[in-house]
């Protein structure tokens, strides 16, 4: 939660109705139960929504988490036009010099929330050389690269 607050400006207290379950290299967000938990860990297959993974030693929010809670992010968000999204998905990257003004609120290289027209699409990665890499799942990339 501290990472989400620092990187994306998401208010950690806003997530108090949820609890976090960690399984290996992935963390799940699960709605906090009033008098739980009643389920033993080995009695269920999945619990809640996958929300964070460790990729190459760094924390990465999952696409499904961003699609649901990305509207809580106030920093490191990029609002792209549909044309720019299509270019990003087709080429796999986009130089951030093409993104200007209020649409670009970036502190430093790292993960960013990618939005368009009020929709949170998923995660991108800003590299040191100022390239924005697409980190959307293949299905979304294909649907957007038209």
């Amino acid at each position: 939660m501290a990472f989400l607050e620092k990187r994306f400006g998401m208010d950690a207290t806003g997530f108090s109705p949820w609890q976090i379950y960690a399984f290996r290299r992935q963390a799940f967000l699960f709605r906090r139960q009033q008098d739980g938990p009643w389920f033993q860990r080995d009695s269920f297959v999945r619990c809640g929504l996958p929300f964070m993974r460790i990729v190459a030693g760094f924390l990465k929010p999952t696409t499904v988490f961003i699609q649901r809670f990305g509207n809580r992010a106030s920093r490191n968000c990029i609002d792209l036009s549909m044309k720019q999204i299509a270019e990003l998905c087709t080429n796999g990257s986009l130089h951030i010099s093409k993104i200007t003004g209020e649409n670009r609120i970036i502190d430093a290289p790292g993960y960013v929330v990618i939005r368009t027209g009020g929709l949170d699409l998923g995660i991108g990665l800003i590299m040191e050389d100022e390239r924005l890499l697409c980190r959307f799942p293949k299905s979304i990339r294909q649907a957007l690269s038209r």
Binding site: F30, G36, W38, F39, L119, S139, Q142
Partner: protein
């Protein structure tokens, strides 16, 4: 005799406007999208669908759209973003009958692929608890993918045989959308073949009876259960309810659906069922323009 011919012979006097039913079987099943209001609004999805060349129309269920025109080759962005779930209109009715609340603990005993579980989570505004169970791992994969795609956080997925499901809590509400012969899904293709016909020698009523008893026992006192199937077969519907009423202190309650319905059948061939089964609801495909369905809302006394 072909099982479908046998079905037609037995049900010609039961299904209202039978000729209309036969004609309807030759029409393609209308497509509906349920809007995931946890992530988006109806207006936003309509705009997104329009961008993909889809013409939609409102239905009697506020979160459901009837799709009038769609290019089947297009990949829908709204689908991949978890904003829509393709679901038949009648398939939404069991969840509306169950009416899960924000603090409820709900069990979906036969949950995969997750249409009804995710609909429940949506109506609960992703609060409370949904336990989505299924017995087959392959089907659980689809269930988990749908929960993830729709961004739901209040759901636990379990894998167990519904008939032997154990839990250390009792549930406020239980949904049993039982495996069935699927007669409500039947369509006749241009070559005259029946589509979606399930063949097999499984004793479905025996499984359904075991499921409904187990589900009932998992309910708390005064808890609500909905038993539903997508078949019109009396043995799998009223026959199963009759068995429950004999074995447990259950009560079938009145529920007013938002679509045209017919009451349950208490006399069929030479069999007579408990008259309370008439409180169940039958939905015929030609009357609701969707899959044929059956449901009963039951209270534990």
């Amino acid at each position: 005799m072909d099982p479908f011919d046998s079905f037609l012979k037995d049900y010609s006097g039961v299904i209202p406007d039978f000729q209309e039913y036969l004609e309807d079987l030759r029409r393609p099943m209308p497509l509906y999208f349920r809007i995931n209001t946890l992530k988006t609004s109806m207006a936003m999805v309509k705009n997104l669908l329009a961008r993909d060349g889809i013409i939609s129309e409102d239905t009697c269920i506020p979160e459901l759209l009837l799709i009038k025109k769609q290019d089947p080759s297009r990949q829908l962005l709204a689908y991949y973003l978890g904003l829509i779930y393709p679901q038949a209109l009648s398939s939404c009715l069991p969840v509306l009958a169950l009416s899960p609340g924000r603090t409820d603990r709900v069990l979906d005993l036969c949950a995969a692929p997750g249409g009804k579980s995710t609909h429940m989570a949506q109506l609960m505004r992703d609060m409370g608890l949904v336990v989505a169970n299924d017995r087959k791992l392959g089907r659980l994969t689809a269930l988990m993918a749908n929960i993830k795609r729709l961004g739901i956080t209040n759901t636990i997925v379990t894998q167990a045989r519904g008939e032997h499901y154990t839990s250390n809590i009792q549930f406020d509400k239980v949904l049993v959308d039982a495996p069935c012969s699927g007669i409500g899904r039947y369509r006749i293709d241009p070559a005259g073949r029946i589509r979606h016909m399930r063949c097999g020698k499984t004793d479905l009523p025996a499984i359904q009876k075991a499921l409904i008893l187990r589900a009932f026992d998992l309910l708390r006192h005064c808890g609500v259960m909905v038993y539903s199937t997508c078949t019109l077969n009396v043995e799998e519907n009223e026959g199963v309810l009759h068995y429950l009423l004999q074995k447990r202190d259950a009560e079938i309650t009145h529920w007013e659906p938002p679509v045209t319905w017919s009451p349950g059948i208490d006399k069929f061939r030479k069999q007579e069922y408990d008259s309370r089964v008439r409180l169940a609801r039958r939905f015929y495909p030609h009357k609701v323009r969707s899959v044929g369905f059956f449901l009963a809302r039951i209270i534990k006394r």
